[in-house]
């Protein structure tokens, strides 16, 4: 397993279930200044909004809210956890590595932290989109912010 820490499949399951059952960042933002993007898909039920609060090239907050399966809920929640406090460039690098992992290409595991739990998503091809929809939505939001 290409990771610096020892993580077992049991731990990976527990992390996914924990972020699904107790999401840290699942709510509509109350403050001003958020930009958002709708994430949904034609072949799954997932349908949620991703919110980003950014200033001076830094991610101050990331949240999401809506209906989603375990894979898209947990992957989006872990994404929010991971990128809060990062610069745009750092966040974009993490997203790039994560997407490479899901596509079963070479990736830098050192920056993924808990997101490594989605290593085996490719076993269920129909869920690849679920595991990436929050991540690609944030990528798009960051690219817009940079312009």
């Amino acid at each position: 397993m290409p990771t610096s820490i020892e993580i077992t499949p049991q731990m990976m399951r527990a992390i996914i279930m924990d972020h699904y059952q107790n999401p840290r960042h699942k709510s509509k933002p109350e403050g001003d200044g958020y930009v958002s993007l709708h994430a949904s898909s034609s072949n799954c039920i997932d349908d949620f909004e991703l919110y980003l609060l950014a200033k001076d090239g830094k991610v101050l907050d990331a949240r999401w809210d809506g209906v989603a399966c375990t894979i898209s809920s947990a992957s989006t929640d872990i994404l929010c956890d991971r990128v809060i406090g990062m610069t745009y460039q750092e966040a974009e690098y993490v997203i790039k590595q994560y997407l490479a992992m899901i596509e079963e290409k070479e990736f830098d595991a050192s920056v993924l932290d808990e997101a490594i739990v989605f290593l085996h998503t490719g076993k269920q091809a129909a869920r690849i989109h679920c595991a990436t929809m929050g991540w690609t939505a944030l990528k798009e939001l960051l690219e817009k912010e940079e312009k």
Binding site: M12, R13, I16, C44, C69, T70, A126
Partner: protein
């Protein structure tokens, strides 16, 4: 009585021992589409290997033979649903058939303030064409309330139908809950108010005996691929006098009697009027073989067999204590359920990891929210080749539902 093990010998998808995720395939998505028996594949292949010709396009034998076979298919459909061959219009499927009625009849005759009655259990293809017709004509769409179980009853139709109602468009069997609508009584009520009854037969024609004269529906749509036939072929049945008053949805070759440069056009009589362009001939020939195949098994037998499977599945699922079944009492071979504490989409991936094909989704969001109080469900649907072992595999998976993340780790 049906012997599914014997029937499976006719189906290459079973004979070839197809696997999914390395497990023997358990196909429980028959409401979505069905497998094809050899006779259907042979009919399609024969058209390309020894019978190729267009229809209505020549004076030679091959062409005559194809015209003859297409006519025979109309006769076969006629025997299947008890109508005249000239009342059988070929289309690409249920969606195209309903659109033809909506635009060819609805858009032509509806006026501002007229009413179209639907139910909340309709499939999108029996809702969205009517929205479009409503936009074009100013006709109003209203929904017939369903009872607390999600059933359409004659009483509820009577309660909302008015003299302004021109169209009642409903499914004979609903695709989420699988209730069989009391069509005979509903069409009587519709006709008493001067409305026509447009029946969506996508989920009924493959599974229950259909007699359009007895039901007295005005139009009926169904798809070939849900009756073991090819994809891309379906039927619109219409009472001949209504078809005669219906405009073509598409115009072009093969549907006009004559036309000149001054814009004078005469269309052919139904059904040819609605079949512009070269038809899906392989599909028509495959449909004939498919209908003969299921008629040979017997629609009464199919109906009884699926009902028995449905009862078995509901009782076994309930025994696990780990399933919520949303339609235990409906008659058709459709079980809509959730595994306790597992999101429908996660359940479907888990089933996939065990080789089981089920559909997860909102199917029809409105009814789920209003009647089932849940955003998404899993649907298992049966057919003539479904075995008790298929259902046992599903039940065993449901029993182990808590381990749904196994799908990613085993």
């Amino acid at each position: 009585m049906i012997d599914p093990y014997k029937i499976r010998n006719d189906f290459p998808m079973y004979r070839n021992r197809i696997k999914m995720q390395g497990k023997p395939l358990v196909w429980l998505d028959n409401a979505s589409t069905t497998f094809k028996p050899d006779c259907v594949l042979d009919a399609v292949k024969a058209y390309y290997e020894s019978e190729t010709s267009n229809s209505h396009r020549g004076d030679y034998d091959l062409c005559f033979n194809i015209d003859q076979k297409i006519l025979e298919t109309r006769q076969t459909v006629g025997r299947f649903i008890n109508c005249r061959p000239e009342e059988v219009v070929f289309s690409s499927g249920t969606t195209a058939s309903i659109n033809l009625v909506a635009f060819g009849w609805g858009a032509k005759y509806l006026k501002k303030g007229d009413e179209i009655l639907l139910t909340q259990a309709e499939h999108a293809s029996n809702v969205l064409p009517w929205y479009k017709v409503s936009e074009m004509t100013g006709a109003v769409i209203k929904f017939i309330p369903l009872d607390e179980e999600g059933r359409l009853t004659p009483e509820n139709l009577s309660a909302v139908i008015t003299e302004r109602t021109k169209i009642v468009a409903i499914a004979h069997v609903t695709n989420v809950l699988g209730y069989i609508a009391p069509v005979k009584e509903l069409s009587k009520i519709a006709h008493e108010h001067g409305a026509i009854l447009v029946l969506d037969g996508a989920q009924s024609v493959p599974h229950v005996p259909t007699d359009v004269q007895d039901l007295d529906c005005d139009f009926l749509s169904f798809s070939g691929h849900k009756i073991c036939g090819p994809t891309g072929i379906g039927v619109l049945y219409g009472k001949f006098d209504l078809l005669s008053k219906t405009d073509p949805f598409m115009t072009g070759g093969g549907m006009n009697a004559k036309f000149d440069m001054c814009g004078d056009v005469a269309y052919l009589e139904p059904p040819l009027r609605f079949e512009a362009g070269t038809q899906n001939i392989e599909g028509i020939l495959g449909l004939k073989a498919a209908i003969e195949y299921v008629m040979n098994i017997g629609m009464d037998n199919i109906n009884a067999y699926e009902e028995a499977l449905k009862r078995y599945a509901v009782s076994e699922l309930e025994k696990t204590g780990n399933a919520i079944v949303y339609n235990p009492k409906s008659e058709a071979g459709i079980v809509t359920f959730n595994i306790k504490d597992v999101f429908a989409q996660d359940a479907a991936s888990f089933l996939n990891s065990r080789g089981i094909a089920c559909r997860s989704g909102q199917h029809c969001a409105k009814i789920l929210i209003d009647y089932l109080k849940v955003v998404a469900t899993v649907r298992a649907s049966f057919y003539i080749y479904t075995t008790k072992e298929d259902i046992d595999a599903l039940v065993d998976a449901v029993r182990h539902g808590k381990e749904f993340l196994d799908a990613y780790f085993n």
